[in-house]
Symmetry: C2
Subunit: 172 residues, 2 copies
């Protein structure tokens, strides 16, 4: 974490992930799902499952590098097969140690550009935990709006239930 006196870190560089990046992606994935507060994947999700979820076609993974370190990742794919494959879906994870440094913003911006380049007409998130206000603010800043709400669709590890939001934006 940058101290108040540190210079602001340079904007991360984002590029397509290679096989060699998976250990770093997995290190982030594991930490992000550990608290069971924001992602639906269970804390005991295995490395092999994570690899399939995040990198297996039709998904493609990207990484954000900052100071030679991988600090975030996104996974872009069609949200539906066939007659729904013009809408993209994307998941984002930032290394908890690199929070508050604009990594999420950089990842989201890059993913929207990539999705447009690949010909997607829109992007949809199917499962934004309603209590994850930091993420919701970020997606709204990037043009997403809430188009649905699944009541009680998420069981936070700490107990109880939370709604999941469906968020959407066109890419025109």
């Amino acid at each position: 974490m940058a101290s108040p006196d540190s210079p602001a870190p340079a904007a991360p560089t984002i590029r397509a992930a290679t096989d060699a990046d998976f250990p770093a992606i997995w290190a982030i994935f594991r930490q992000v799902i550990a608290d069971g507060e924001t992602y639906v994947y269970a804390a005991d999700t295995t490395r092999a499952q994570a690899r399939r979820i995040w990198t297996a076609p039709p998904a493609s993974a990207f990484v954000a590098e900052q100071g030679g370190r991988i600090v975030g990742t996104y996974s872009l794919k069609p949200n539906q097969p066939g007659l729904g494959d013009h809408v993209a879906n994307c998941g984002y994870m930032t290394d908890p140690q690199a929070r508050g440094q604009g990594v999420g913003t950089a990842l989201c911006g890059h993913s929207l550009t990539t999705a447009r380049e690949r010909g997607f007409a829109a992007m949809q998130f199917n499962f934004v935990v309603a209590s994850n206000t930091r993420a919701i603010r970020l997606w709204e800043k990037h043009g997403f709006r809430v188009v649905g709400r699944s009541p009680g669709a998420f069981r936070p590890r700490a107990g109880g239930f939370a709604d999941a939001l469906i968020m959407h934006r066109t890419l025109k």
Copy 2:
């Protein structure tokens, strides 16, 4: 199709599908997706893809039999992994030749019972094509309500775009 003079067909019997049922399921699947009006699967979806979509764990398939013939099928699964696996998802297909005979109603009712028995707390449909008013009426009759709308998420084979609805009901 029953003529107006035929006796009403007996209510279908619904049971878990076996491997031996897949040819009949595939015959229905193929016909249902052929027009590209209600289901997202492309018309060129292969038999192997259909089998995976409909029957591969964690999905489980059921069939409706009427007069010794399989006239419909449903596929039940968790809508999300891990911390979202308390919400079920289900897809239904009726043999086009058996429409209007209560097969969809029987399938939906059976699937709600099965989902409850398996401990699901709710059921969600992620992709009900908004122009499919027959289906929407049926789901509403079974207690589902619209909780979201994905704008232009479906490309009907005939051209243009249609919204997809997210529909939900609790199973308490």
